[in-house]
């Protein structure tokens, strides 16, 4: 029997009561900083002994308060995120860092700052391309972020501390990748539902504690005998975010989810921040260039004067080819959160790419509420019938 306070059990406990640990840390004198998106460079918070805490919404909580601040035809994730904030769920936060990773993030940031009173609030502007001047601008944005953090904490962010924080977060990335290695066998040693809980737990903990939890989970999963059952399909989920285990459980009713390409899955952990002479260079490159979110404008050749659709698809989705092969994936679900425009524009092209690889896929839209789960289940079941 696994120890209740360790590994998967511990991850589930944290997942179910995310703010508890943050509140304990705050009571112990730590400052807790919220962030709504994985594009916020957490290394800079960690280096200043601040605890990053991802502010999420809740599919089970009806949006009521956010209606006075955001329109209904708007990113449901940001709506529920703000709704929870307006209901006081995050009142323990000492500050909030937002980032221009997409229009809804940017526009919600302005509203958030106006309606929720945090002692510290910072917005990081983020270019859309990965051109050299865009990287330079983004680095300057991170430098401004450093200045406001220093002013808030009264501490200097030294390159040495930042490098140490980068190493800790890189370790976390490596551990998450190791965790995903455990989904390669058939059946996988860990389910997609469990991974959602682990990742969300990581986003509620200081990085060192998160790494400790990951090590426990990996060790436990490697030796477990009660892992997931083998199911007819091995799925890739591609989405902006899947951060609720009830959603993931729907896919896993008749399939094994072996790869969750979303920011509640492997997306923020796939790469690693390079240790550069000026640590901000490594962070700039990682956060603007390396994270494979649909929000970034990518091309086969930067500034290209000729375009080839196949090469274009390769530059945008090429990272999936290896994953599909190595994880022996036989179906993909392209899960769109309604009103998420960057991902919505991407859907037909991604389907073209997967068709070219011969991988069956389906595009399903939902609105990130409990009410959307039943129709989601019906559509998933229909897809699984076609591929099994």
């Amino acid at each position: 029997m696994p120890d209740k306070s360790r590994g998967l059990k511990r991850a589930k406990e944290i997942y179910q009561n995310r703010s508890q640990k943050a509140k304990e840390l705050k009571a112990a004198g730590k400052k807790i900083i919220g962030y709504p998106c994985v594009y916020v460079p957490l290394e800079m918070l960690t280096a200043l002994d601040l605890v990053p805490y991802r502010t999420c919404g809740d599919i089970k909580e009806p949006v009521t308060e956010a209606d006075r601040a955001l329109p209904t035809s708007f990113c449901p994730i940001m709506r529920t995120c703000l709704d929870c904030a307006l209901k006081g769920w995050n009142d323990f936060l000492d500050g909030m860092v937002t980032v221009h990773s997409s229009d809804p993030q940017e526009k919600t940031a302005r509203v958030w700052e106006s309606y929720v009173n945090h002692p510290y609030f910072h917005f990081i502007d983020m270019p859309g391309t990965v051109r050299p001047e865009a990287l330079e601008y983004f680095k300057n944005q991170l430098n401004d972020f450093r200045k406001t953090l220093e002013s808030f904490t009264g501490k200097k962010l030294s390159p040495g501390k930042l490098k140490a924080a980068i190493e800790s977060h890189n370790k976390q990335r490596a551990l998450v990748k190791e965790l995903y290695q455990l989904t390669k066998p058939a059946p996988p040693l860990i389910s997609g539902t469990e991974i959602v809980q682990v990742i969300k737990a990581l986003m509620s903990l200081p990085v060192t504690e998160g790494n400790e939890l990951l090590s426990q989970v990996i060790s436990e999963v490697k030796s477990r005998t009660d892992g997931p059952k083998k199911k007819p399909a091995r799925l890739l989920i591609w989405s902006s975010t899947v951060d609720d285990s009830d959603i993931m459980a729907i896919f896993e009713s008749e399939a094994n989810v072996v790869m969750d390409e979303s920011c509640g899955g492997i997306r923020p952990y796939r790469g690693r921040v390079k240790l550069t002479a000026d640590p901000l260079d490594g962070l700039t490159d990682y956060y603007l260039n390396e994270i494979t979110c649909a929000r970034t404008f990518r091309q086969a050749v930067i500034g290209e004067t000729k375009k080839d659709y196949k090469k274009d698809l390769q530059s945008r989705f090429g990272y999936l080819r290896d994953i599909i092969k190595k994880w022996n994936i036989n179906g993909a679900i392209l899960l769109l959160v309604r009103y998420c425009d960057p991902f919505a524009f991407e859907m037909p092209s991604l389907k073209d790419y997967l068709d070219n690889l011969g991988l069956p896929s389906t595009y399903i839209e939902y609105d990130y509420t409990v009410g959307a789960l039943a129709p989601l289940r019906t559509r998933v079941e229909a897809f699984l019938e076609t591929i099994s």
Partner: protein, 447 residues
């Protein structure tokens, strides 16, 4: 007869017609020029970052967003929206983008590159490249990227910084935004040169930029005159006249003359106390993009005495900025483009309105144009033109005691907008405006 009488409810500016015609002519002239072998470029609204460069390089530019409005206004949009849906694009995407995706799908897949015969104003021919922009709505560059499904045409995505409310004031930030713009535009010029196989004429670019700035200054001043009571220009004239400035349509010297004519006509109306509608009972601000397919609604509201005196932050000329001492045209372009939102930040900060560039302008408009109410039009398919509207509504009430009427709709898809619903709500909203007029007077507001 009935139709004629309805048209007279709003007294349209005579000087507006040639400005509106200019945009239509631009489509026709572009189609002819392209038939004669000139290259075409598709561009999106970019707040002038790229337009003057294309203009100076003598490229025929068509704007799918503006064309989306044309398709909606001429009733042709629906088949393209349906085609976009059939190709797998979600129905809640931007109406302009859906119209152009469907149009391009039809042109390239069904008609093998030929312009669809039903396309108004000669249609949009296949471009040699696409100029996307991140300004205000950054999902748009994904739209142009998505057009790659139908045509192998390179895309340039223009960068446009979008600073936070307080972060705008961090020391050196403005200059860094200018540097980003200048470096980026320098590369863009090189890209355009490669695509066209010719060099930029920098003197011509400078002249183009200066004309662009002057056109917008005159257009800005004309709109300032609308603060007069009664307001001499209705929003319908603003929307008809603004594309020539916003999209740098046709010959710019000619445009400047037309805007100067408009300014003079507005000034004459102010001097003679001539209003845009027969009896101005209520002065309203409109946000953001209008229902292009149902503009007749405004005539019906004008019959009730509703005069729309100020509108559409995203389409308005920037607050004038003296750039006469700037010699580099790319620096001028960048500073002018940044001014679209940067022009409001200082005032917003003073008033402690964190909504910054998107929400604050409406407070300024309501205060300075002395509005009784706001008609807010959140769009089901446009986050960028809608997200700030609940905040705008709250701030108008909290700070100025100006009530808002919210009506959901869409810019292109007429199935998502119900003009009858607005008319049904008009009478109770008039009572609300009357009530808050009294409240404002009691609380010492100036109107």
């Amino acid at each position: 007869m009935v139709t004629e009488e309805k048209k007279k409810v709003i007294s349209r500016l005579k000087s507006m017609y040639p400005l509106r015609a200019k945009v239509n002519e631009t489509y026709l002239k572009s189609a002819e020029a392209i038939k004669a072998g000139k290259p075409a470029v598709w561009a999106m609204l970019n707040f002038y970052y790229g337009d003057p460069i294309l203009k100076a390089m003598d490229v025929e530019v068509v704007y799918p967003e503006n064309y989306g409005a044309v398709l909606a206004a001429t009733g042709v949009a629906q088949r393209y929206l349906d085609q976009s849906d059939a190709d797998g694009f979600p129905t809640h995407l931007c109406g302009y983008s859906r119209a152009s995706l469907g149009y391009t799908s039809r042109m390239m897949k069904d008609l093998k590159g030929k312009i669809p015969p039903e396309a108004p104003f000669g249609g949009m021919p296949k471009p040699i490249f696409l100029m996307a922009s991140a300004a205000i709505c950054d999902a748009r560059y994904k739209w142009f990227q998505a057009l790659g499904r139908y045509m192998d045409v390179p895309v340039w995505s223009l960068e446009a910084p979008s600073p936070g409310n307080k972060e705008f004031f961090i020391e050196g930030n403005y200059q860094r935004m200018v540097e980003l713009g200048m470096k980026h535009l320098r590369d863009f010029v090189a890209f355009v040169e490669r695509m066209l196989g010719k060099k930029m004429d920098w003197d011509k670019l400078d002249e183009t930029v200066n004309l662009m700035i002057e056109i917008n200054r005159v257009w800005f001043e004309a709109n300032e005159l609308r603060k007069a009571k009664p307001c001499p220009v209705h929003s319908r004239d603003f929307w008809s006249a603004m594309p020539a400035a916003l999209f740098l349509a046709g010959d710019l010297k000619d445009s400047l003359q037309l805007y100067q004519n408009a300014y003079q006509e507005v000034k004459d109306r102010v001097n003679s106390h001539a209003g845009a509608i027969l009896e101005e009972k209520y002065r309203l601000v409109f946000a953001e993009l209008p229902p292009w397919h149902s503009l007749g609604l405004f005539d019906r509201l004008a019959e009730r005495g509703w005069n729309f005196v100020v509108e559409s932050f995203g389409y308005r000329p920037p607050i004038p900025l003296d750039l006469s001492k700037v010699s580099d045209p790319l620096e001028k372009i960048t500073k002018f483009s940044l001014q679209f939102f940067a022009g409001y930040y200082n005032d917003a900060k003073k008033q402690n309105v964190l909504g910054g560039a998107f929400a604050y302008p409406y407070l300024k408009y309501a205060r300075e144009w002395k509005c009784d109410g706001a008609l807010l039009h959140p769009l089901i398919s446009c986050r960028s033109a809608s997200t700030h509207l609940p905040y705008v509504s709250n701030m108008l009430m909290e700070q100025l005691k100006v009530p808002s009427l919210n009506v959901e709709g869409d810019i292109v898809d007429l199935r998502l907008f119900d003009p009858e619903d607005v008319v049904a709500k008009a009478e109770p909203f008039e009572e609300t405006m009357e009530h808050y007029r009294k409240v404002r007077r009691q609380e010492g507001f100036g109107w």
